[in-house]
Each structure stands twice: as structure tokens, then as C-alpha cells.
Amino acid sequence: MLARRQFLIRSSLGAASFGLLDAAQAQSASPEGPLPARFGQAPLLQPLRGYVDGLDRVSEGLRVRGRLPAGLRGTLYRNGPGMLERGGQRYRHWFDGDGLVQAWSFGAQGVSHQARFVQTRKFQAEQAAGAFLLPAFGTVIPPQLPVRGPDDMNTANTSVVVQGGRLYALWEGGSATELDPATLRTLGPRTWAPELKGVPFSAHPKKEPDGTLWNFGSFGKHLVLYQIGVDGELKRHQVLNLPTGAMLHDFAVSQRYIALLLPPLSLDMAAARSGRSMVGAMRWDARQPMRLVVIDKATLQLQRTMELPPALVFHFGNAWDDGDQLQLDYVESDIESFLDGSFNAALGGEQVDGQGKPSQLRLLRADLRSGKVSVEGRRESMEFPVVDPRVVARRHRYLYHPLQTGPQDRWSFNAIQRLDLERGQVDRYDFGAHVAVEEHLLVPKPGSRREGEGWLVGTGFDAQRQRSFAAVFDAEAISAGPLALVDLPYWVPFGFHSHFV
């Protein structure tokens, strides 16, 4: 009886007050330290575990249900956080995980798959040590290796792009990391010019139909703009001062302009230096507006700034202009759930209710003469909007994106749709409540000219089978269901963005 009462007293007061912690637990007791490595049983969340062993996976001769279109040839590359747990510790934030790049190769012989970790300095050191050694975006870990610049923390985990025949894994805090396009072997950080070595290169470059690649890098109040040619070499770059410092994830490019949305979200450097994580040091000022910054593509100089009500923005769909009017679409996210951590509640593998307000599409029109801005919204809970690559920075009619059609409390999307902006209609397919749907890309049909003529190709996870798959749709008949499903013999961790070449 006495022993039971002692146990109950201890568990209610917590181990901390008994001074029984060892060093690792002390670190976990910090409000932003790593979490203990417990993972729940929720079937739909298992891929959030990541690959704890840090090993690559390869498979060939994948089983296909349905029929793959004969004209679909090329590779779907994807990137996402594949390593989230080491040495009994888990990251707090989904964005912390080290990059795992996938290549789904569609060839005459069928489909093969590779998933390989980007061998950054951080990944190699931590894999050898079997422990986290460096701070992450949302988790405080005292550095065991020198941190001399952003690339020392580079996880290369957010997106992929191919330019000039070279494949890059992208992470907005630092350099692009080059990989071999066939084997995914890591070749090293890419330096575009000597004075740009180690400068951030965002995970959302925009490729125009002529092959020019535009990108930006943001640090504090400064912005660097990159213009990269078809040959993969830097043609121009420009360093600009922004009206305020802001966390910038994505941007938009139209015929004449580069457009940025600056949310009133900035980094408190004093907090960052005194031991808060990057997320913990972010400050949201609801009294400030969101700023639309428009830059002239010809001169790479700031053209004008307009104000909107404050919102958290991650992703853009597309933008176009006619000289006077600029139109762009973006996704507005919930700032509360991002900052307070409920966004990451699913990272422990337990089904949690209430993911915050849904992220929704916004359609913005800016009159560049009068400075007036108007915004329309849609109500679907969605993310990862894409357009036909032939209309990037041109007037677009269609947006493609995953969405949630069922209860709002699940963590992932269950459906995919094409939104016709001209008619306000949608063409939608629901995979079912047991499936988590990821970003799907529009792959133009070779020889076609019509916007939207092609295939919609993307990945998902089937919680009943506990396997990941790739889906291929006729992009003009999505509600008819996938033409083909390609099954993997295992699951791959959930990811962010893709690129098809």
C-alpha cells in the first residue's frame, strides 16, 4: 500500500522535481528540446515515423493496377523529411527532418523507385553518431559541431528541381544541394557565384515556359533574386532591401513582375541567440498588415508595395499580369496552429482532434495603378496548388491540388481536384478516408498544346495496406478515377514537393 502511494505521488509531481533526470531527459524537459521517441498506432500517421535507421530504399518492377499511359515517360522526384528520430529522441516539428529524396521512374520496362537520404554534413555526422548533433528549425539541440553558417544546419528536405540537366534538393535556409539525377548520389552544395556561396536558395523556384528559372533567397530584411538560364548557369542576381523582415517560403512570377507576400511574421534575433528554436523565436504582429511587394523583372528593382489584412502564407499557385492588373493565387494558413504546435501534434503518431482552421485558397487581384487590392476566397481545406508547367507566369485557367472533403479533424488530405477558375467548377476524385493524398503534378502529354491536356501524377499512402503508391489520372477526367496505381512494397515518409522531368 505504501509503495503504491509513493508511486502515485511521484507520477503526479513529475520526475523533474525529484532531480532524477539524466542529461538526455534534462534536455527533453526544456520546452523546446527533443521529444522522447514514442510513436503511436494511428494507421494514417505511420509514415510520420520516418525511416529511423537512416537507410535508403530501392525497388524495381513495381506492381501496377490499371494501365499506365504509354506516353508517360520520365521521373517524378519528391522530397520530404525522412529522418525524425535518433538515439531515443524525436524532433518536435515536421519541418526538422532530414531530406529523403524519391525518384519514381516511369520507363518502357515499367516503374522503379528509389528513396535516398541527402548526405548533408549534418546527416552524415548524425548517422555516424546515432544521435542528433545540431539544432533544428523547431527543436532545440545544443550543437556538438560548429555552426558557422546556415549550411551547417542544412537538411535539404523541402523540394527538388532539375535545371540544366542537374538535380537539386532544396531547403530555404541555405544552399541548394546537388544530386546525381540517375542515382540520387549527393554531389554537394551548389554555389551560383562566389559572393552567393552559402546564401539561401528557396524551395520554390519558378520555371517559365522558355526554361528560365527564377528564385529568391531571404535573410532578415534582405532578399536576393536569382535568374538562372536553361543551361543551368546564373544569368543575373540582385540583392534588395525589403520594407520589413519576414519569413518567406514561396513567391510568384508573372510576365512582367516578381511578387512577394510579406506576412507580419519575423524572427526575434535576441530570442534565437538566447536558445529558442527558430519557430520559438518567430513573432506574429497582428497589428501589422501583410505587404504585397511587386518587383519589376526587367530591372529587378522594387516597383511598389501594397497592403492587405495580415495572413500566414506558405504557397502560391500562379501569377499573371497585363501590365496594369496583377492576379495571383495563394494558400492562406492558420497562424495559431502553426505557432502553438498543434500543427505538429500528429508527429507522435496519435490521432489528434482539431488541426486548427483549414488552409484555403485565395485569389488576389491588384491594380498596379491605383494600388487597390481585392481578395476572394474558397472554402475547401486544401494545400500544394500547382498549374500546368506550360502556363507558369502566364494566365492560367486550372489549378490542381489535394483537399480534405470529410471531417476537418484529420491531418492529411483524402481527395484531389482540378479547379476551373474560368467557370468556378471542380473535377474531383475522393480516394477514401483511409488514404492520405499528397501533391500531384500536371505532366503535359507530349505533342499537346492545350492547357491541362496531360496526366495528373502524384503520391499517396493507403492506411489499410500500410503502403505508399503513385497515382496517374487523365488530367481532363479526374472524377473518373486514376488510370493506374503503382504500389510500393513499403511506405515512404510523407513529403512536401515534387518535380517531374
Binding site: P143, P146, V147, R148, G149, P150, P194, E195, L196, K197, G198, V199, P200, F219, H222, V224, V239, R273
Partner: protein
Amino acid sequence: MKQVLVPLVALLLSGVSAAATLEIEVEGLPSREGQMLVAVYDKAETWMKKPLRANRAVVSAEGLVKLRFEDLPDGDYAYAVIHDANNNGKLDMNVMGIPTEAYAFSNKASGSFGPPKFEAARFSLQGDAQQRVSLK
């Protein structure tokens, strides 16, 4: 007795040396190009501003560098080493002000997005010493 004491005292006092040699070996260079620059400081007030002594050495074919400082009085010091890969005599930076060449500090000290404090890089020199620094 006094004739014995004076030489004995002189012998004891001669252990307080005024001329130590510090030898620094730098390893883990990212390339074999260029030269190593090293600057030694003796107080926090001048740390990273006005070195007490500076030296440079070409990187050897094996990718190692040895630098010597002679006649240093015993006391506290800290130093910074820079791999000047393009031989322009300074630590190059990118447009963010972040160094693009490798560097390191004594006492395995490292800062966060900047140099460590003098106190973190400080070590005590008591007679001749050989130290190793890694740029990795």
C-alpha cells in the same frame, strides 16, 4: 652558506621562462590551395580587432599547415585561423556577411553565427606548446 644559496635561488627562479614557443598545426583544410592566416590575441578588449601577433603559411602539398610563434611570455592567449584559399589576405564573405572560407579558433571554441567570446577561446600558455586545430 650564502655562496650556495644565491646559485640555488637563481636556479629555482630560472624556471619562470619569459620566452615560450607556440606551434599550431592546422588540419581538415577544405582544399590545398592558398595559405593559412593566424592572428593571436592576448586580451578580450582587442579580441578579433587588434592582434598581438599574426603569421601566415602556405598550405603544404599534404594539406597540413604549421605555424610558429616564438618568444611569447607565459600567459593567456586566444587565436583565430583562417584558410585564405584565394590568397587575397582576408576572410571572404557572402552577401549575407557569412564567411565563405573556413576558419577556426583556439580551445575548440566556436560561436553561433559569429566568433566565440575571448574567454571561450582562451588558453593558458606555460612554456613551449604544440596545439592542433581542425577546420572541419
